[in-house]
Symmetry: C2
Subunit: 152 residues, 2 copies
């Protein structure tokens, strides 16, 4: 199994970062505007991605497995790109001075594939969007996300 791991520091209280990760409104502010479902333990969240013109280009379904306001959010993917099914995303939070540190991990990819390298770049772009959302009130969720290659 192989993983994507990123570290980002956000100049804001941990509680504000947690809310951006643990609520539908929060996720819609940094990942994709089209985020629906229930962010509660066992609940399903659906994220859909569109072009600027409105064409759907992909979607993911995932279950909230951990929602710990002091330190962690964990999701398990149940539908979406085949490589994602059964993988999990973990956001580990801790305070370090003025910063809330987010240790992001997209875990348990079966193998190193080109699509994983693409997703690694995109997750970095979305972690930057999360940081901007929490620090400034304005993220860059899809379809306004920074495009990084010919796959999006």
């Amino acid at each position: 199994m192989v993983h994507i791991n990123h570290r980002v520091g956000i100049k804001a209280p941990l509680q504000k970062v947690y809310e951006a990760l643990a609520t539908i409104q929060g996720i819609a502010g940094w990942w994709t505007q089209d985020t629906t479902g229930k962010s509660e333990i066992g609940g399903t969240i659906v994220t859909r991605f569109h072009t600027l013109e409105g064409t759907e280009i992909g979607s993911m379904h995932f279950t909230a497995k951990t929602l710990d306001p002091e330190k962690k959010v964990r999701w398990e993917f149940t539908a979406g790109p085949p490589e994602w099914i059964g993988t999990e995303v973990i956001f580990d939070l801790h305070q370090d001075g003025d910063y809330t540190i987010v240790l992001f991990s997209h875990r348990n990819w079966a193998e190193e594939v080109e699509f994983k390298s693409h997703c690694s770049m995109k997750w970095a772009i979305f972690m930057l969007s999360l940081k901007q959302l929490v620090e400034t009130g304005q993220g860059k969720p899809s379809p306004h996300d920074i495009k990084i290659d010919n796959w999006n």
Copy 2:
């Protein structure tokens, strides 16, 4: 051994991307303005990083191991952060329609550490800078790089 892998697509001919990776002037345009040395097989390149006020905050020394204009640049790190020594960075290039695809890999980290997660985010930021440099003529090399946490 664990690795950092990113995929970026640049709307430009492969030769332009190669020049940005294989010349001192190119590297200075996307990674750090303070890049010196010789980009030739067996030559040593030195990158130094500064704050905006000019204080040095780190440096790396690496040797060019592969300089293949059609498809690959490979570096081996000989000095810098302890975790980097002995690791290598590979840029694999291929054309896909209007894009030159860069498969970036920072290979052979001894273990998953928080510093690797930091470097994964920073490499994504610098791959974005490389894309901007080649597509627009203006990258964001250090010290003008996007800051992502309390470590830089």
